[in-house]
Subunit: 164 residues, 4 copies
């Protein structure tokens, strides 16, 4: 029933991987990484993914004048991350529509692959004044192509009718 990420779902070739190391500034007095930092690491993950896809986000914003703004975020915290640990961020395009797209992300402890956090964000493309716009067509195609190759139900998920 839960349609949240399973640890395995990001393990294939359509998952883009980057790493970060937990900074002291990111810990809290509970002795672990504070929970908001995962949103920063999700951002690092999708930034590197977009670079690999040929659409560095800096260019999308500067050249195309389009911002991908986070309109929804969901995070499940499975185990804590500790200071100085290397984390592996696995990002995956899971849904692409005309305006919105969804990026699923897993954060793992790099040494043993233990899953620390799973979640996703929905991004909406907007212009500089905050108005909703369509995803630039090149980026739209690249994101579509980056989705994992699963047999079923993908048609429905890409929302061919163009609902936001």
């Amino acid at each position: 029933m839960k349609r949240d990420l399973e640890g395995e779902s990001c393990g294939d070739r359509s998952s883009y991987v980057s790493t970060v190391r937990v900074r002291y500034a990111e810990t809290d007095q509970g002795g672990v990484a504070y929970h908001s930092n995962y949103l920063h690491w999700f951002e690092v993950g999708r930034t590197e993914m977009m670079r690999e896809l040929g659409y560095p986000y800096a260019d999308v914003e500067r050249v195309e004048g389009v911002l991908l703004t986070v309109v929804e975020a969901h995070l499940q915290y499975h185990r804590p991350a500790f200071y100085d640990e290397v984390l592996r961020i696995e990002s995956q395009v899971s849904d692409v529509r005309r305006v919105r797209s969804r990026i699923d992300t897993l954060v793992r402890r790099d040494t043993d692959g233990e899953l620390l956090c799973s979640g996703h964000v929905w991004l909406a493309s907007v212009n500089r004044s905050g108005g909703v716009v369509r995803l630039p067509s090149g980026l739209h195609a690249a994101l579509l192509a980056a989705r994992p190759k699963v047999e079923t139900q993908e048609e429905g998920k890409t929302d061919p009718a163009g609902i936001v």
Copy 2:
């Protein structure tokens, strides 16, 4: 079907209100408050709520040795928050179990009440070594009493069987 917060549901006496002002440090180059800051503001909201309930979180951690760690977070971003705006944070206890409890939070623009973000976190009580423990009984009772007084379905939500 979505059981997310409706703007109205936090408007009654069981909603605890505090305010913050958006800092320059919290903005990003898109000209709005960066999306991770809402988790900080959610934290401010439930901190002030717990103080009002007579269980300041600092005491829970120091005196009882219990940490309330965020195990799940969900946020929907409706409109951007801008630099120097005063935000009104409305927090509400929406579910209380033996170990976990859920806090729903709305963030509104203070001047006109416009809803900017809605979401919730699930908190789990753990001890200093990270082991799951029951909520301290006094706090458990206070949280139960803080829930909004709605006629129906509350029994089910409080999970009398004590499932985590």
Copy 3:
């Protein structure tokens, strides 16, 4: 020899006071507020000071198109700040030139006035493209007027020759 702030120097009428409460997100695993947060609190302090002076920083940026960018910062940490403590931020204009101005700031524990951190920033006024510009004249006058009334050496400090 050190020309750093003395605790007393900010106690007169020319000191602008605001308060913050230490957030859990601002602590680190050492059990105290992480040292970079003081720069955020300095910012809160001078934001409130400018509002009191009649020049809310948001307006300076939006209406006048001038940004006051930090070009130098110095901080001395005397004692740690702990989670949930209320801090008193005392800000004072200590030098005003044509482009640059210096704001001295003290951060005290609110309960007993204990000095936790003292420091200053130098702000330079720049336009949207990062070019150095003169302080808007109204703001320049307001900052000059806000300096503490000390008999000596003020002339020299205001740099009448207009050196940056």
Copy 4:
């Protein structure tokens, strides 16, 4: 007269280099990296330096029970850092005493070496209860050995009389 870092002084073999990439979360609405983030990058720089010296800070804290707390920080901002730029952090031990040590840090744009920020922090070694303690002897020796090999005035800077 200024005894701040010169860009050149960190270029020799005694300078420890690491890199970071500016995150969107680290920008502000002025379109540049917010000034407090440099303290995080300074921290990254000295963390990697200590790892290279054979004293990973995580071990110092966990094994030796000693915290190196920032007691003073100074930063000069020369040019802004922009989103997605790679920054090169050059860290250097510039003074080592029984309790305190000083780390000088330069932050450069990686593509062309342009100096963006220079500064230093003074670290004091304290125990878990915040009491001042001597630097662990192994770490003390490693830091001494890591200082740049300059002919003059080093004796004075190491403070042989052991003043804090």
